[in-house]
Structures are given as structure tokens and as C-alpha cells.
Symmetry: C2
Subunit: 468 residues, 2 copies
Amino acid sequence: MNAPNDRPPLPQDLADTLATRFGSRFSVAAAVRLHHGKDESSHPPMPPDAVVFAESTAEVAEIVAVCHRFRIPVIAFGTGTSLEGHLLAVQGGVCIDLSALNQVVAVRQEDLDATVQCGVTRKALNAALNGTGLFFPIDPGADASLGGMAATRASGTNAVRYGTMRENVLGMTVVLPDGRILKTGGRARKSAAGYDLTRLMVGSEGTLGIITELTVKLYPVPEAISSAVCTFPTLAAAVRTVIQTIQLGVPVARIELLDKLAITAINRHSKTTLREAPTLFFEFHGSPTGVKEQAETVQEIASDQGGQDFEWATRPEDRSRLWQARHDAYYAGLGLKPGCRALTTDVCVPISMLADCIAETFADLDENAASLAGPLVGHVGDGNFHIMLLIDADNADDLARAKGFASRLAQRAIRMDGTCTGEHGIGIGKQPYMALEHGDVAIDLMRAIKRAIDPDNIMNPGKILPPQ
Amino acid sequence: MNAPNDRPPLPQDLADTLATRFGSRFSVAAAVRLHHGKDESSHPPMPPDAVVFAESTAEVAEIVAVCHRFRIPVIAFGTGTSLEGHLLAVQGGVCIDLSALNQVVAVRQEDLDATVQCGVTRKALNAALNGTGLFFPIDPGADASLGGMAATRASGTNAVRYGTMRENVLGMTVVLPDGRILKTGGRARKSAAGYDLTRLMVGSEGTLGIITELTVKLYPVPEAISSAVCTFPTLAAAVRTVIQTIQLGVPVARIELLDKLAITAINRHSKTTLREAPTLFFEFHGSPTGVKEQAETVQEIASDQGGQDFEWATRPEDRSRLWQARHDAYYAGLGLKPGCRALTTDVCVPISMLADCIAETFADLDENAASLAGPLVGHVGDGNFHIMLLIDADNADDLARAKGFASRLAQRAIRMDGTCTGEHGIGIGKQPYMALEHGDVAIDLMRAIKRAIDPDNIMNPGKILPPQ
């Protein structure tokens, strides 16, 4: 396999240095490179020139220092579940596979925190917490690594109550572009001590350093959990229900919107018999009476908006079945057009703009890309929704239509005071909207920060910041 | 009044430029300068060379651009309630008084957010929210400006439930060191779009730019609020009550610890008749049944720890009376030794370390600074507590003892995985602990960021980062 873009191959000295040091944990095999050069997005794969399987922060630091000496790009790889091409080796270089950094270093029950290596996945952390009475709530769908989730500022269904990775990382160990090891934050719940390096690294997508360890907040497993689904005559009625729920301060743990097509897809994929109409999925956490009260309040609001077919689930197996259906929405969506690829949008707007944003978006879809129409799912308590566009990978017209639609949607969200990406990150796909969303002064400032920390531009180059 | 430290006076050209442009809103009068060169800390005043009263973001940008041309320091002034010398003109320069930027620009009820100019104080914002059913929860005690609160990453009694300024600023307008106007963030509840410039500016203490406008989260006024006080046989028993409350996931809105001396001071100052013993103040927010349930759970936990004398307040006037007493603790403390000044510590540790940290701190106080002993108050749900040291300003030995004690306390907290400042900021007082808390690599990175954004070091120079 040639290096992409006809770049020169990896310097032999560098390859020799890493091969000597890491033996069989250094690989230039085509299959290994390809596996580390693709994610779950619709972006075509771009393999790195080599892969090193690191087993500790010290090893990551060593690899980065070597790459720094040769001014060669370094890309971190967790589980490969990015949706924006974060790990594609657009300028080649060395990929560091971090999956062996999979130790839960400490769980501190009294402090409600845990320190983990970056390769620990969210499900692995929750498995390790079994029996402690605590859990880690952030759930982006995929069983992503916590390092990757921090690097992309991930969130998901629980964010409306528990926040995103931004709010849930207390401190980190980060390998800087020159191989030095940075510690950020600490374990205090709050601090006013200097620049917030933790938050600077959260969402930096591997462009400022490689997160190798992180301390995250944990939460008590709620005494009671209750789930519900409810259908609505229109998407707007469902959105009004969400707005009123949030405004009343009902502390919903999850509030997810699915459109008719998403429900159709789920029914087919998961053999469920949900009514095919705009639907809200809810989850309530709290004491038994608290959960009951939340559920009653929401049911009342929903009924006023024409909500019907309330279905409740309090037993764990029923809740799991319900939410599994929601979680399978992505694969269910793909099943609507077998063999297709999905281009998934990710806008997030102020909740008052949500109904308008969705309505304009569907009008655009009907007019310009009806044949690509895929399901809508949304973390609507936060104003975040996704539309899957189902495209035939070999059809250039499909791709052009999908990109045009996604571009107009991103611009629409930004015009509505929102963002082109609520939780997937910028990667390579969203760079065209950075200046529109943030303005030129902010982009200049981001570039200044990038230059100050990574003057040789070796850390995941070509991501986040648009080319100058 | 001479410029401090025998620095050269302000360049005449600069003074003329600002005087011509701003007329009587430009002042070099000694009284004006002195007023803008002191805060509420025990640090001696250091007046700026001149003060300009700005009335808009554009004017701030204009003033900063002029100072940038002359490479003259610029310091922002909000309400002057800093506790760490943030606004002292340690290198002279121009102070920009922002109190006239006092407009609430927009309140968006559906989105639960508000945009305000930086000079709006937290009480002014809450007054403007009257009748909307929403409130802004962050309450550092002083009626500080929201710009100043963001700049110092302030928090206070409600942070255990509602977070700090870090979690509650959605976006900002910031004047950069060269006079350009930066917009950060937006109004989406979450975003994964690039480096988190908002969080970089929150807590930057005016060293990277001047915050002139900010959009903050609002919250629904709880349907029911209930307050309580309860005394304990020991501080440790009170702390154990806090730990268990947090671990059970009781969503307390406030949970404040006061020691016996603090209660004595309050009884004297506020004519209350509280029992003079370690005391917890609680506040619960929620539905009527939710609040009742929270209160019952906490009362049970407290009783197990020997808590007694539970006093409840649900009527607004009773709650206000109770919390006014807590809020007056600072002035009550000063009243213990009339004419004294207070040096207030601000450590924050993981909650599991809180009892040990307090015990070691009191042992140190008894041994080394008993004559300075002042009250302890703490936002203990977050692991944050303050000890007031009551010092005679004219007594060098008092000051030396107080500083030695505060230094050992900061180091103790850092050793326990905590921070030297939970909410007051670094300013000039906490710089000696920055490297110990963050490590040399982090300090280097902070310096690199500062240099990249403010290469001439004109923004509030001499703050946060220790001298090299």
C-alpha cells in the first residue's frame, strides 16, 4: 500500500527506531494500517504509514518524542468509532493504538470519581463499577474509549441531566507534542487555579496532545429508574413537550425524539411494534416517588400536546428492551437501504429554535434530497438532533446531494445561534463551518493556541482547523 | 500620588489620547485611582495610573487598542470585590471601569439563558428575572459583576447543585490584547466545535482579554424550597453527614459547614440564638414532595451522626433570615476582633480528605497561629472551605504567622489531591502554589498560551503566573 497522496514514505531511521524499540508492537502491515485508518463515518479510509501499540503513558511519550524528532504526524487511535474522520491519516504518519491502556486505575467511592487509562471504554468502566452503587452516565451510543470521548467532547442521551465530557472530566494526563507529560486539573470538584487546561484538551481531537489517563466524575445509581415512550401527532408537538418539560425544571435523565421513519426502521430491525409516528423516549432517575412525580408531570404536558400511547417500563428488562431499540436506531436506519452508507448530521440549536430548525430541514430534504431521506433521532433536551442520509457509496450524485443538504443544515443551525456539531466533533467533515460558526477572530485565536502548543503541527494535523 | 514602584508615569501621548476621546470619563485623580486599586482582600492597595469609565464593548476595544499601541498594562474593574488582589495595578497602567456596562441584553425564557453586559451584578440579573420563573443560581456572597465572576471562575453556596461559572457560561464577548473583539461559544447547550475558548477565558483573571458580555444559563425557580440547620458534636460528624448525603445522590442545593466560632460570631453579629457548635446549613430545591423527601433523608443521615437541634424554614422570610446569617458570616467574623483585617483561605479537596484536611488545619492553627483564629465556613458539598485569619494590619508578626499558616494549608490541600483555591482565584496571593499544584509542564503550557495571546504582556500583568 502506498502512502496516501504520494507523500514520501516514513523516514527509515524513524521506522527502525520504533521497530527496534517496540518489536512486533510496531507494524507497517497493510491490514493493520487500514484498520487504523478508517472510522464509522462516510469518509473514505486514509491509513497511517505505521501503527505502534502502546501500553503505557511513558511509551506514548516515547513514541511522540521520536515522531517529534522527525517532525512526523502522530494520530491517537482508541476504538475507531469516530463519525467525523478524526483518525484518518490525512498527512500520513504514525498511529498510536491505545487500546492496551485499558486499566481502571482507581475507583474512589467516597469521592464519586474514577481514574482510568484512556483505552478503557465506557461499558468497561461501568462493568468495573458494578457493585459500587456508582455509574458513569455518558453514553454516545458506541462503546467508545474514554480518551476518545474526552478528545471529541462526546455526550449522548444522558447529557441533558449529567452533562457532556466537558463537565465530567476532572483531570487528565496528556502527552504533549514534544513528548513531555502534562497533568491537568486534579480531583477537587472545583478549582479557580489558573487556565483551564483540562477543558482546553477536552474536544481538542488529538491536535494538542494525546490524552492517556483521565479522572472522571461518577454518579450514584438512581434508587429508581423509569422509562416511557409516547407518540405525537407532529414533530412540533413533541418538541413543545420537550420545551415545557425543561422549562418546568423536570430533571429528566433522557429525552429523545425519533421521527416516524426512525420508528419504522426500528420496528423492522428490532421486531418491535411501536406506533409509527413522531415519538419521545423518556427516562427518569430519582427516588421512587420522585420518578413517579416526574413521569406524571411529563405525561400531563405530553397529553396537552396530543401525546398518546404512553408505554411505561420500570422493570430493568423492559427498560433495556425499550432503550435497546433506541440505541439500535443507527443500524436500523442503515437497514432501510441495504448496502448504503450513512452521512449523519449533528446540529445543536437553542431549544426555542428546534421546531423551526427541524421543519426547515425537512422541507429542504423533501425538495432536494428526498431519495436520501433517513431517520431523525435527537437528544432534544439539549437541542441536538441527527439526520441520517442514506447514500449509495458509488453514486456521486447521492454524495453531492447529501453534502449539499448537510452543509445547508449546518449553516441553518449556526444562523439560529447553534452549532454545526453538538457531539461528533469537527474532524475533517465540519471544517468548512468553523469560521462561520466562530468568526475569524476566534479561528485566529485557535490557530495561535495550536501553534503555541504544537509549533511543528505534528499532532493529528489537518483536523479541526480549516486549511489557511 | 506617585506611580507605584517608581515606574515612569503614563506616556503623555497616551493620556492625551484617552483624555481627548473620553473627556471626564478619563481620570487620573488620586481618589479615583485609589478606589480602583484596592479590593476586599488583605493585600495593600496598588492604584493604576489612570481610570477610564467605558460604556460599551466598542469603547473597551478602543481603550485596549490604545494601550496596546503604547504597550501599557490594562486592568478590568467590575465591583472591586476580589479576594486575591486581582485588580491591583502591580505594574501600573490603565484601569477600565466596566460598571456602566450594566444592561441585561436579552432574557430568553424558552431557552433558559440570558445575555448580559459584564457589569451586571448577580443580584441585578436576578432582579431583572423577577416574574420570569427563572433565576441565576451562582452566589459567591458578594454582589459581584458577572464579568468578574466569569473572570475568576467564581462559585459559592449553590455550586454543589448548579455548578460554577465554568459550567454556566455558554458564550462570551471578549476584547483581546490588541483590541480585536472575540466571540466565544454560542447559545447551543453543548458543542463539539473546536477548542473551548469560553472555558479558556473563564478563570483567566483578565490576563488573556477583557470579558465584556456573556450568555449564562438560567434555571427554573424551584416549586418548593426548604432550608434547615442542624448542629453536630464534632466537625468530623458534620463532614460524614455531607459525604453520605452526596453519595446517596440527594440533590441538595446548598450544604454549608460552619464551625463553633463562626456560629458564635454570627450570634453576636446577627442577634441570632443558634447553638454554638459545628453546624450544617442545608437548602433543598424541588417539588414539594421531593423537597420533603430530601429533607427526611438528610435528617436521618444527620441523626445517625449525632446531629440535633434541627430547625426548619420553608417560609421565604424564615429562609432569608437563616441564610442572611450565613451570608453575614464574613462580616460577623471581622466583628470578633474589631479593627482587624481578614486573610481568607480557600482550599478545596476531594470530599474523602475533607475531615482530615480540616483536622490537620485546626491542629496547625492551635499550634502556630491560635491568636489569629477566625471562623471556618465551607461549601462542603464541593470539599471547599475557608478559614478567616483575623490579623492586626500593623502587626508584622500577625501577618507573617497568617501567611505561614495559609501557605501550609495550601500545600496540605495540594498534597491531598486538591487545590489552593476553589473559587477565589490565584490573583497575586496564590502564585507561590501554582507550580506545586499543576507541575512545571502545566505552568510552561500556561505561559505558552499567555505569550501566544498576549505577547506584550499588557493584560493584567503580574497575575496568575508566578514570576520567572
